[in-house]
């Protein structure tokens, strides 16, 4: 059962990959790249999902995939044009297929109406374009394919016992061309398929095999003669070779069965035949010495495996990948984190011992440092993944929103190859979806409005990713109407977010969008208005250690730009001292640092202080007092103030005693062995081997003043 579960898991993992391929392929087909390579890749993806699904008896999935496959087949053999309406249905079918896969994996109810609707749609396309004569007879094929696979997965074969004399005998001559192997097919597999139809006798023709010296590893020398006794008709026999039709010489002939032949059931014979056939390549080289034999044996295999990568290679670079359990990678990352800390400790100890005068030791330490950094970077890179799958999901979102809003939208993506930590990608999905929805729903105009504004009726949303100075910058821009600043301001005043007489710059108005409780949607639609707004998006981005900004030009569109760390395992921090404790403040929340002067600090009430910065007043928070490290507030003049911005744009000045250092730290969880601590985000280990706590600036600010309203923030800023 466990083994089955593992296979099932692998199947769904592969489904994800296939769905990605499918989407990529369909999109490039939509762009007009309907070459056979692309169409084949798409077809293969759907077919693999169908095959696997059959093995797990996922009937709905099989049924849908089958119709999808049939339609694709029409395009593949040129019976149907990949016209825009057809491609649109195809893309929607891919979405339904993805949903079906998800539901098959996680359970849940599926909207049968939707899949049936698409099945109807696809069939309609088929009937439209296909000559009536070529109309498919899908039923026998589905049954046969769906049924033969479960047996394959279970490792046994059905024994058909038939006493009916209605048995056909076929003689099959099969000679593969090299292309057959080059496309990743295998003669063995085809013979095995054949043997499932009935009783099979196979002979391998090795007469063409040259001497070893003349043997071309990628050539095809073997041919097979098979005699099949089966109840099936000739079409089922031919169907087995359907995929390789063009890549082999195939003769299937019906012969009158020998009446005296025993009834069907000689499984042993099938086995034998298979064995003989499998051994055949070895026989060709039986006289050769051991190594040569290995070469001969490996040749067809190598050719096959090499070719298997080839079709994909056209779409993306050839991928030599292994699946590794995420836990193992994380353990490795932890260990490397340790190594970095240990290396820092070692250096410190050596310095203390005064041994650095010895040039050899100094050089050795330098080398060690370089090496550890390099190892750390390489290990971090293991967790990094391209943003491509994430972007692909977004294209689906765009399609759905475009359909729902009646807008004509094109998603353009750039830099999908940029790699980011897996967790960042996972946690980026929701905010990104939300922003894409916003861009289409709020940003873009309806086609008629666009034409009136002198733009193309089709709107464009651009999603791009790029690496910039150790971070990844993801931008979402639309060529819509831009932010209606007058309306934004009016809304903010209406909702009491800003005073009616507030004078705000354009960028300040734009940033109002990020305030909690702000939503410009005139009516709550189920597309954008889900009670969450841009403030939630901003908070999610900040939780990832990122920043988000917005630029907009009226009539030309808006751009949301997010800058994110490449990994969540390390963080850029400022190491500070507070009441004899060492703390780390995340650098991404610090706007600036300053030494307060007596003339800038004012008391406000009995125990609050504010600091005047460029005309505004910002609350001063003593971190040591807030965390309970000391019971008297410190004298602001003795310390350093870190001006920070928290969620929603509140500004506060955190008082610390001194700044020690600015460095990258490895993030360690406090929760796993202890629990959450208010005001603390996580822990880290410094060069001296001691643990330092990483400050949760938002929590500190919230704890010190639960009463800040958004309007306070704006005036303070």
């Amino acid at each position: 059962m466990d083994a089955m579960q593992a296979i099932r898991e692998t199947f769904f993992q592969e489904c994800e990959e296939q769905l990605g391929e499918l989407e990529t392929g369909l999109l490039s087909m939509q762009e007009g790249a309907a070459d056979s390579e692309t169409v084949n890749a798409v077809f293969r993806a759907v077919h693999s999902i169908k095959g696997g699904a059959g093995a797990f008896k996922l009937d709905k999935l099989v049924k849908f995939a089958h119709v999808f496959e049939t339609t694709l087949d029409k395009i593949r053999n040129g019976a149907m044009e990949p016209s825009p309406p057809v491609m649109k249905s195809m893309l929607r079918a891919a979405d339904v297929l993805a949903d079906l896969v998800t539901i098959s994996r996680d359970g849940g109810a599926f909207d049968d109406a939707r899949s049936n609707e698409l099945i109807g749609e696809l069939n309609a396309h088929c009937e439209d374009k296909a000559p009536a004569a070529a109309a498919p007879a899908p039923e026998p094929k589905t049954e046969e394919e769906a049924e033969e696979n479960p047996f394959a997965a279970l490792g046994w074969e059905p024994v058909t016992i038939s006493l009916e004399p209605d048995i056909n005998e076929y003689v099959i001559n099969f000679k593969p061309k090299p292309e057959l192997y080059a496309k990743g097919n295998e003669a063995t597999r085809l013979m095995r398929e054949l043997s499932r139809l009935g009783s099979l006798t196979v002979q391998c023709e090795i007469a063409d095999v040259p001497l070893l010296a003349n043997l071309e590893p990628e050539q095809s020398y073997l041919a097979w003669h098979a005699t099949l006794r089966t109840e099936q008709d000739i079409d089922s026999v031919r169907a087995i070779f359907e995929f390789v039709d063009d890549d082999c010489q195939l003769d299937v002939e019906k012969v009158e069965p020998d009446i005296s032949a025993p009834p069907l059931e000689p499984v042993a014979e099938v086995e034998e035949a298979q064995e003989a056939q499998e051994a055949a390549p070895v026989e060709t080289a039986v006289l050769a010495v051991e190594e040569q034999r290995a070469v001969a044996e490996a040749a067809p295999l190598a050719a096959a495996s090499k070719a298997e990568a080839k079709p994909d290679a056209a779409a993306s670079a050839a991928q030599n990948t292994i699946r590794v359990d995420l836990d193992r990678v994380d353990r490795l990352i932890n260990l490397v984190g340790e190594l970095v800390i240990n290396q820092a400790m070692l250096t410190q100890r050596v310095l203390e011992a005064g041994a650095v005068k010895n040039a050899n030791i100094a050089t050795g330490l330098d080398d060690l440092e370089h090496l550890t950094r390099e190892i750390q970077e390489s290990v971090m890179a293991i967790r990094a993944q391209p943003v491509r799958p994430l972007f692909q999901r977004m294209s689906r979102t765009v399609r759905e929103i475009a359909d729902a809003t009646g807008k004509n939208v094109r998603l353009k993506t750039e830099g999908e190859g940029a790699e980011v930590d897996r967790t960042v990608i996972e946690r980026l999905a929701d905010p990104l979806t939300h922003m894409i929805r916003n861009a289409v729903d709020h940003g873009l105009e309806r086609p008629d409005a666009r034409i009136a504004a002198g733009k193309a009726p089709q709107g464009e949303v651009k999603l791009s990713a790029a690496h910039k100075s150790g971070r990844v910058v993801i931008e979402i821009s639309d060529d819509g109407r831009g932010i209606d600043r007058a309306r934004v301001k009016a809304t903010a005043i209406n909702k009491g977010l800003i005073p009616a007489d507030a004078v705000l710059s354009d960028s300040e108005i734009d940033n109002l969008l990020f305030l909690p409780g702000f939503s410009t949607a005139e009516k709550i639609t189920n597309i954008s208005g889900r009670g969450v707004g841009m403030d939630v998006v901003k908070r999610s981005i900040q939780a990832l250690g990122g920043r988000i900004s917005i630029t907009s030009r009226p009539g030309l569109g808006s751009t949301f730009s997010m800058s994110l760390p490449l990994t969540l395992a390390v963080l850029d921090g400022m190491v500070v001292r507070v009441a004899d404790q060492t703390l780390v403040v995340p650098l991404n929340s610090i706007l600036e640092t300053m030494k307060p002067k007596t003339s800038e600090v004012y008391g406000l009430g009995p125990d609050s202080q504010v600091i005047g910065i460029r005309g505004g007043f910002t609350p001063l928070i003593d971190v040591g007092y807030q965390l309970g490290f000391r019971y008297e507030r410190c004298d602001p003049m003795q310390g350093v103030a870190l001006l920070i911005e928290t969620e929603g744009g509140y500004r506060s000045a955190l008082m610390v005693d001194a700044i020690q250092d600015q460095r990258q730290v490895v993030i360690k969880s406090l929760e796993s062995n202890y629990g959450h601590v208010d005001g603390i985000a996580a822990a880290t280990i410094l060069g001296d081997g001691r643990i330092a706590l990483i400050l949760d600036t938002d929590a500190i600010v919230n704890a010190s003043s639960g009463r800040n309203s958004p309007s306070d923030m704006l005036l303070a800023g």
Binding site: I341, Q581, G628, S672, N673, H676, V677, I685, I691, A692
Partner: protein, 155 residues
């Protein structure tokens, strides 16, 4: 001094015994991951008094519990001679700060007597039972109760 009981003896378990002040305690050896010397801990804000802070145990953030304080004795003034017993229950790993580790003993399960009915709340809450070894009484610590609540404090 150490009573050796073969593993095959019915229900026999091994315990690590340690000293706090002049009293002896023990925990099941299966929950002990390692024993190490005291290193200064990083103070945790808003932590109960018996949590001395956290130390770095080869990359794990290990909370240190002053067992003396937890059991109601006065808080320990740790020195380099004090010992941290790294113990695990479930997935939670903590370090128990004690004065000294003394022995490993083996004891049949039926030799563990119920905790005598004493007035101390701490004793009743944190001692599972007592056992007699030679002229000593050793209290078996209820590890789960000693540890700070993981989820409770998080919420």
């Amino acid at each position: 001094m150490v009573e050796i009981v073969s593993k095959s003896s019915a229900g026999g378990r091994e315990y690590i015994t340690f000293r706090i002040g002049d009293q002896y305690f023990c925990i099941d050896i299966m929950s002990v991951r390692e024993i190490r010397g005291w290193t200064p801990a990083t103070t945790l804000p808003h932590a109960p008094g018996y949590v001395r802070g956290v130390i770095n145990l080869r990359g794990i953030v290990l909370p240190i519990i002053d067992l003396a304080d937890r059991l109601g004795f006065s808080a320990t003034e740790p020195t380099a001679r004090h010992v941290i017993i790294v113990a695990q229950t479930g997935k939670q790993v903590v370090g128990l700060l004690v004065d000294a580790v003394s022995d490993i003993i083996a004891m049949a399960a039926d030799k563990v007597q119920p905790t005598p009915d004493v007035g101390s709340d701490a004793a009743r809450a944190f001692v599972l039972g007592v056992m007699a070894i030679e002229d000593r009484m050793i209290s078996l610590i209820a590890l789960e109760s000693v540890m700070p609540a993981l989820v409770g404090e998080a919420a």
